[in-house]
């Protein structure tokens, strides 16, 4: 077993060169390079987490903005709704007023027309009375040969007309 057989001859060489090369590796690679590699990793991790934080921040800001926008929008919508309701109420009022006016004009015309009709009716019935009185007097004069008083004939005709 060379490990034991050669121990006396080579132990110093083994220890010396191992210390030399392990030491070199430790100081050049371990102390010199590894911290830089770890730095790079840490730097990258930091950058990633910073980016994440920034993205999170931006998202939160966007949420706030959106909320504000929503509130503004809601307020505007409510305003618009109230404007519309106002306009509608005004329009309704105005149209009701105009309708009422038109109704009044129509009512007035109707009343006038009715009055004219009533007047025409009254004059027509007076005409009929006159004609009937004249006719009755003539009939009496021809049949009975008597001249009857105009007033009496008129009242008799009036009575007959009234009672049918």
């Amino acid at each position: 077993m060379p490990q034991i057989a050669q121990l006396g001859e080579f132990y110093a060489s083994q220890i010396f060169w191992l210390v030399v090369f392990f030491g070199l590796a430790f100081f050049i690679v371990g102390r010199g390079m590894v911290p830089k590699v770890m730095d790079t990793v840490a730097h990258r991790d930091k950058q990633i987490s910073d980016d994440f934080a920034a993205a999170e921040q931006a998202r939160r800001e966007a949420d706030v903005q959106e909320e504000a926008w929503r509130q503004r929008e809601n307020a505007r919508r409510a305003e618009a709704q109230s404007l519309i309701a106002d306009a509608r109420a005004k329009a309704t009022l105005a149209s009701e007023k105009r309708l009422g006016e038109a109704q009044r004009v129509i009512d007035g015309k109707l009343g006038e027309a009715e009055a004219r009709i009533a007047q025409a009716l009254a004059s027509a019935s007076a005409e009929i009375e006159n004609v009937a009185t004249d006719a009755a007097r003539d009939v009496i004069a021809r049949v009975a040969g008597i001249t009857v008083d105009d007033g009496a004939v008129r009242s008799a005709v009036k009575e007959k007309l009234a009672h049918g």
């Binding site: 077993m1 080579f10 060489s13 083994q14 220890i15 392990f22 371990g30 790079t40 730097h43």
Partner: protein, 262 residues
């Protein structure tokens, strides 16, 4: 290489040989030749350097290579965060180096370089190498433990709720289990790597010797061994990753003891 008469020595692959005529190198009286083991340590370090350097573009959107490097650092970071907590962050350089060094060493040792005439060497199959890593880890645990908690660190050896009478006994038991840690840590990796390599070598020796003997023997012993080798190679790749992970994980657990007591 292989011993005489076509026999394969399964342990020969672990032999350390000085390279490039550095046989006589000395430092303060110690004999430190640059061996094949040292070469593969160098290659593991170099590969780690190349691998991590390839992921240093520092792009915001990583490419494949950068992604691979970052997933390894992220894995170590996660391991420490899960086992040690926020205090574990400062051990990332050490843990990363440890894990990648062992991982690349294990994988490099499994490279089929024999095909092109080279010989891969797995230095993690030598306890003289894994032991150093274990001792370094253990030293960090002890230094951090005492620096952070002072003598209060000894309370690690007395679990909560221990009856007063039992404290001396429990203290000894816990102390022994604590002191065994560097050995178990180093030996586990060494044994796992060596066992796999020996197994592959033994099976390949079956394939070679039955193939040299006759076709019938090859059919009943050599061929199944070869098929088994394919499976075991896959298993060894898994073990290479798992052992590196286990070493790193246990280091985390021990560091947690030092950082947070319990």
């Amino acid at each position: 290489m292989a011993a005489e008469a076509g026999k394969v020595d399964p342990m020969h692959q672990f032999t350390i040989e000085p390279l490039f005529g550095t046989e006589g190198w000395q430092l303060a009286g110690y004999h430190i030749p640059f061996t094949n083991s040292s070469l593969w340590m160098a290659l593991a370090s170099l590969l780690m350097l190349v691998f991590v350097a390839g992921g240093m573009k520092r792009q915001l959107v990583p490419g494949r290579w950068q992604m691979a490097v970052e997933s390894f650092t992220g894995f170590i970071d996660g391991l420490l965060a899960a086992n040690v907590g926020p205090a574990g962050k400062k051990y990332v350089p050490y843990m990363f180096t440890l894990f990648m060094f062992i991982l690349f060493a294990n994988f490099l040792g499994l490279l089929p370089l024999g095909v092109i005439g080279l010989h891969a060497f797995t230095f993690t199959s030598h306890f003289s190498a894994t032991g150093v890593l274990a001792v370094v880890t253990f030293a960090i645990v002890i230094i951090v433990g005492f620096a952070k908690h002072g003598f209060h660190f000894f309370s690690l050896f007395v679990p909560h709720g221990t009856p007063v009478v039992m404290i001396p006994l429990i203290f000894c038991v816990e102390l022994i289990s604590f002191l065994v840690r560097p050995f178990s840590l180093g030996l586990r990796l060494f044994v796992a790597m060596m066992a796999g390599h020996v197994l592959l070598e033994v099976l390949s020796s079956f394939v070679i010797s039955t193939g040299n003997a006759n076709i019938g023997l090859f059919a009943i012993a050599g061929l199944p061994s070869f098929i088994l080798m394919v499976g075991i190679c896959a298993l060894e790749l898994l073990v290479a990753g798992i052992q590196a992970y286990v070493f790193a994980l246990l280091t985390c657990v021990y560091l947690n003891d030092a950082e947070n007591l319990h």
